[in-house]
Symmetry: C2
């Protein structure tokens, strides 16, 4: 049945976290169209690990937010690495035009009025709305990109350079931006910066490419040597198998301007060892998605040797998203993507394989036009 746009969108939704891996094709009412809103007719969408936390409802002790939405569906569509064409723009939109190919990441709205929004930190706006599972002020709960269409504020719809195919753009919209922002903020203005990337998965593999493209000397850290060849192909200048090189932290003393932790758990890392390889007053920044009870446990005494800082980073700004896309266009790096055709079976396959760690290194769901009968506009 074709999508009755703009009255409805279609997407793959769940209603019960127990059935997280079986999203079903569903029609639903979109959010009310605002003057700064943009409708994207989706062409493809990456699969991000955040989806697993949302669908399983692991970051909350409340029922799924959609079940208490003020209007719109009582079901949840995920997906926040969206690429597609603009098919409608609100009256006040100036950042996009109809027909343009744009990308949308994990954030779809912010207040646009606070100091953070004014300072290219809209991802930290207190009124930020995430692209799915997140409540707008009018009570609608946002619906994601495993769908025919997505509606978002223009600020979060990024123009895509013609050189990059959509399937490679998708993972950059959340994962890529999430690592780009702390790398940029961490090495800006440094000569010959040394960056360490911890954990060579979906995020880490992009962090290696991005840091390299930005001119850094990049060291990839993994527990074993299994991913050495991959990391080198991605552009790593050095590779450390922390589980196989007992003295690695002594050998690398004072070696890094920035560590980007892309590992999914911080609890299992030897943080003291990692902190000891930073230069003075440099940062260890975590971007991996933590379990709800994940902790940093740090002894102030053991890291007095170099005065480092431990922090987290969340997404990136519009400005950074545009810079990242330009960097990928001009420097030619591309995420390593396996494509899966969208359908109930395809969504199930992608989610369950990601959950099992069976991905090298990122999935993009494709074939949206064929499936939804869109793409002719």
């Amino acid at each position: 049945m074709p999508v009755d746009y703009p009255r409805e969108f279609q997407g793959f939704a769940i209603t019960d976290p127990k059935d997280w891996d079986h999203p079903k094709l569903t029609s639903y009412e979109p959010k009310k169209f605002g003057p700064h809103d943009v409708d994207i007719e989706v062409e493809c969408c990456g699969i991000c690990a955040t989806e697993l936390f949302c669908l399983k409802n692991q970051w909350s002790s409340e029922p799924l937010a959609c079940l208490s939405s003020a209007y719109g569906p009582k079901s949840q569509v995920v997906g926040h690495e969206v690429v597609g064409r603009v098919v409608a723009v609100g009256d006040d939109v100036t950042l996009c035009r109809k027909g343009e190919r744009v990308g949308l990441g994990a954030q779809c709205s912010s207040c646009m009025a606070c100091p953070r929004c004014h300072a290219h930190n809209e991802q930290y706006c207190a009124k930020s709305v995430a692209t799915y599972c997140s409540r707008y002020e009018d009570g609608y709960v946002s619906q994601g990109g495993y769908a025919s269409h997505v509606r978002a504020h223009e600020q979060f719809c990024f123009p895509i350079p013609a050189e990059i195919e959509s399937q490679y753009v998708a993972p950059l919209m959340c994962g890529g931006l999430t690592v780009y922002s702390p790398i940029k903020r961490g090495i800006e203005g440094l000569e010959n910066p040394h960056v360490g990337v911890i954990g060579i998965g979906g995020l880490g593999h992009m962090a290696i490419m991005i840091a390299k493209a930005m001119g850094a000397h990049v060291t990839a850290f993994s527990r074993s040597s299994k991913k050495r060849a991959d990391a080198e192909k991605m552009g790593a200048d050095a590779f450390v198998a922390t589980g196989e090189q007992p003295n690695w932290s002594k050998d690398l003393f004072d070696g890094f301007d920035l560590l980007v932790n892309c590992a999914s758990s911080t609890t299992q890392l030897d943080l003291d060892a990692f902190l000891s390889v930073l230069k003075v007053n440099k940062n260890f920044i975590s971007v991996g998605l933590p379990e709800m009870d994940d902790k940093f446990v740090l002894s102030p005494l053991t890291f007095m040797g170099n005065g480092p800082c431990v922090g987290v980073s969340k997404l990136g700004s519009r400005q950074e998203a545009i810079e990242l896309l330009q960097l990928a266009a001009t420097r030619g790096f591309r995420p390593w993507v396996e494509t899966i055709k969208i359908s109930e079976a395809g969504v199930h396959e992608g989610l369950t394989r990601l959950d099992a760690g069976d991905v090298r290194y990122r999935f993009t769901l494709v074939g949206f036009h064929d499936f939804f009968g869109t793409g002719s506009s």
Copy 2:
């Protein structure tokens, strides 16, 4: 018995951590005199909480380092907020001259050759030697400033502006420098920076004065209102009693460019609340002295709202020590000091009162010339 300088120094020493609060007058052999060494005839010396950790041997699972020194005393003199006159300089000394009044803080040596030493980060040199309880490369264990004389590398002997009386200089040499360095590094280049100081004790009271003298808007945080009047006299623009204002962190959202944690324990702080009042990508820096088993326990999820960093800072550089002394001279702030005449009884009183928290806000041991029969050189 007068000090037989330069053959021997005299000081107040312990040999057993069980008897930490009864240092006894002792004569001892100084470290071998090197070409960059300076001898300071001590005039006064601050009492710093580090002394308690060292004397009680709480930061180590080994016996007191002095018991296994290659030469020199098998006893330990503490004290690293030293003020006195230079009475001897090594052949290669260029930074001090005989007769000059200088201050010495918690560090007495570093390699002077590594990248950290070359970049005004000698406090983080891997070969740093602390002013007491610390082993030199030749096996001597450093002896502190509750003494007639101290020997130190010229790099760590700072010229003192004539305007400041010695008893007020002493606490600046360790405690003052320890808070100056992270404040300077945290707010440099910012317009109208907002600094929060957590814990109004020996360190915190100087942090308030220093941040204020550097032009910051300063908020003092304490559990109760007991120290409100003191904090305001020190220069705090605002005061928050975290135990009495349940919504303090909501009221102060997005308010701070830097938090300096001067509280003695990090384990008891509501870190999530403190992190939430930082602006985006700003730092919470701990300088309070931790217990050996003290921990930061942080949930990555709960501080994704503003991407802050948590870190520690250790002492400061020579450059920063000189800046701090200039700041105190030109801006006129002075630590709040209670003086105690040096003697076995005086040292005992100072240490036990500090251990009991009975100090407003810093002790300086004075009267060294009278006690040791020095000061005529």
